[in-house]
Amino acid sequence: MGKKIERHAFEPKIMAFVCKWCTYSGADLAGTSRMDYSPNVRMVRLPCSGRIDPQFMIKAFEQGADGVVVSGCHPGDCHYNEGNYYARRRNTAFRELMDFNGIDIERIEFSWISAAEAIKWTEVIDNFTDKVRELGPHAQYSDDVVDPYAEFLVQKDRETA
């Protein structure tokens, strides 16, 4: 049986939005090369980093993610030529916006990772996980004010199920 991964009191939940041509393939390569990296990350595969909508990141945080990774091909390498340039602008604006709202932008990691950069992928994920573990749970989103009506609906759902 393989080696035990160290368990910490707090394990961050990390969601990654990645493009399928570069980053997703890079992560696959990490697998084929039997590297290991921290198991906290869950990936959503998208055609292009230009398809990554700020809405996804907002939802991921709402859903309890402590950190979000956004990644795609390096500038100039986009499969669709220009998708990552739009992604870069959108994320510049979005980060500034989150920052202005006081939401901790250290919890969003943007990285260019090519299909060959398996090592970079593992480093980005490991370092980011460590960083978010340091930061602790995303308190800004976790001290939830529950909507009573929504709670009521959920309750009803459970009863009928």
């Binding site: 907002i58 980060r95 202005f100 709202n101 006081g102 939830d144």
Partner: protein
Amino acid sequence: MIEQIRNQARQLLENGEVDVVIGYAEGSDPTRTTPVFVRKPEDVDRLIYDARCINSLPLYLNKRHEYTKKGWKKTGIIGKGCDIRAITQLIAENQLRRDEVYILGVPCEGVVSHFEKWDGSLHDGNRASKCTDCDVMIPLDTDFFPGEKPEVDRSGPYKVTSPKVANLMGMENDQRFAFWRDDFDRCFKCYACREVCPHCSCNVCITDETTPSWIDPAAHKKGVFSWHLTRAMHLVGRCTGCGECTRACPMDIQVDLFNQRMKEIVQENYGYKSGYSLEEKHPLITYKVDDREDFIK
């Protein structure tokens, strides 16, 4: 000045060049003005213009408000410089054709921030914050302008950062968060801020969308955050800074601070100012190969 505007409006209506002139009239009490739709030449004398004319009239040109101009081929509109920027932005976004409007530009010296603060004159105590860094007091694109239109250099950046934005940016992250959390606590999602915005022209707003509902309809904290982040994101590089969203908010939430901050960001990073050009595309749908990427690993 207002006489010249009235005369022009009368002529336009008389010879049928426009079907209506949208302008300002005296409101319900002496501190207030109200938008007015003048359709008959004999009514043009109701038109007024002074520092109380806060409302951003281009809202009524937005297609969402089509009911207001049913069957009207051409609309005359009285515009301050900032309103005309909104019109330009609407045309650039294909929400309006230039030949559908006749712009009666007025020179503006600033407006009051709220009617309640009007004490007969405009001064630093009651001037709207958007007016402090205005470079379109002499408006840009007009069909009619009372008198000679002086040349103004508008090439520079917006002159000042809004003191409120600067103040917030001076805070620690957590303080800023606390500021917004407390403010947003009051938001009950009436969407007045959206309804009043000239650039929220979507047929179905993303927040009314249910497949899927990206924005939680409930007015709890997450839902409100998500609404305001989304709204501000959608207005990046498009907001023309009328400040109506804040003025419309029944809960006194200063939502336009978001837009003001994004205005600075867009200007700093992409040198873009909304509402100045019909051709230039807003910054989120264009790019440069050497855009800023200092935050990217």
